[in-house]
Symmetry: C2
Subunit: 271 residues, 2 copies
């Protein structure tokens, strides 16, 4: 059973052709990347994004939207990816991940090549202030919520945001923490799609009366390739209305650079 993220999200073009273009890719939802039996949404996004990168011949997801249709269980999946337009700098690509005839995830994305820019830059924000990694709260291997998932990623929550785990939610819709893959496996721009969906929901700290907040849609903007080392992440929520809530994420790399911004719309299950 592949434990490395790169292996657990690998896809294989069905026709075996190395050329870019539309096709079907085979992948497999591997055990251990689930939360309560359902594959993590960011894990599914990343797997489909590998097919989209292959289809477009471009490595970096610049902006990716995923609609989560059916929860994914371990087993084989197929991903159909279509390049709608290949431009000079970017390709617009859509994809659908299916298990048998059941659609799991639909995606629409722009792929390109992220490179340093010499244009104007402005950053109104900072990485979240976190105590040193060893002073933050890890998840133990026997985490009852997601034992496998928590052993494949290394998440260390800000102590102020980790109390929900012990029945002491902070009362604030905020979850901050360090992130790296198990064994410090390198994180590419596609792996960032896992990162933006890997921390516990802010609803756990906001004391909303729910056991989970299923993601309807998640959009991630990848702003730069991450440097090696721990990532710093921050997720927050401002509006819980009409049975929905959004969750805004930021991911910063070890050099203090913003590498991804995300927003998801999640459902507040009816009680």
């Amino acid at each position: 059973m592949p434990e490395r993220f790169a292996d657990a999200t690998a896809v294989h073009r069905r026709d075996g052709d190395a050329a870019v273009g539309d096709a079907i890719w085979d992948g497999e939802i591997v055990e251990g990347w689930d939360i309560g039996g359902n594959a993590n949404g960011g894990y599914l996004m990343a797997m489909a994004a590998r097919a989209m990168a292959d289809a477009s011949g471009r490595p970096d997801p610049i902006t990716v939207t995923a609609h989560f249709i059916t929860p994914g269980a371990p087993g084989p999946v197929e991903i159909e990816a279509n390049v709608l337009r290949a431009g000079q700098r970017f390709s617009t690509v859509r994809a659908e991940m299916r298990s048998g005839n059941r659609p799991l995830v639909a995606m629409l994305a722009r792929f390109g090549e992220l490179e340093p820019s010499d244009g104007p830059e402005r950053v109104d924000g900072d990485p979240p202030e976190l105590p040193p990694v060893d002073d933050c709260a890890g998840f133990s291997l026997d985490d009852p919520i997601a034992p496998g998932f928590r052993s494949r990623i290394d998440v260390r929550l800000h102590p102020d945001d980790a109390g929900f785990h012990l029945g002491r939610p902070s009362g604030r819709p905020l979850v901050r923490g360090w992130f790296r893959l198990h064994d410090d496996e390198p994180i590419d721009t596609i792996a960032l799609l896992l990162v933006v969906d890997a921390l516990p929901p802010t609803a756990f700290n906001a004391m909303l009366p729910v056991a989970w907040t299923p993601t309807v849609e998640l959009t991630a903007h990848v702003r730069a390739r991450p440097a090696p080392g721990w990532l710093r992440c921050s997720f927050s929520n401002r509006f819980v209305t009409g049975g929905f809530l959004e969750e805004d994420g930021e991911v910063w790399d070890a050099t203090g650079r913003l590498v991804a911004q995300s927003r998801q719309l999640a459902l507040l299950p009816r009680s």
Copy 2:
């Protein structure tokens, strides 16, 4: 030439069948909804969304993502819409708008029916504080940037954010203002897709050395059906990095309720 937004975004199912389902819709990009000759992106989103609503048999776009591929010029367009999955509460729908064989916009959305919720609500934010409508800055009909567009929508900018128009940008990446359609035409949830892309770019106030910031992708969450009357809008930007910038929008209705949240990724053209 239709001046009402509802008429200017009307679409007609090609096979004439009233049933829901996949099909092609015909529409027409009408003159006067453009900025410098290119149709406004929110206008195109709204037109495609009408086909998607028709395909799904559900009226409200809950979350909509549009990728802008080629600028749209006045003339006929076709919209292909496919329902990927019709669930109990929501339909996942994708669409592509084309002019001839040229793709203009690709979209992916969830449609449903927005209704008041009796669940928990939390709102951490307020509508932007704006002076009375008549004390805000309107655009005159002879606005050289977008004479037609500015006569079809009624935008009144906060005086602090309107100086760029006279060569006095505020220096802050913030644009706030009142919005309504010409003649106070009612605004449905699909028209909100126009609203989130109708104000001038924040880059004009941030003194970035660009004439325009083309939208790569825009995602809007529609959180409620707007009450009649003026809408209050606020658009801001925090990160200009790597040749891209995001722009976050909020739209509030006359009762003070948040009705839409948006984020777009735009390109900072290379100088």
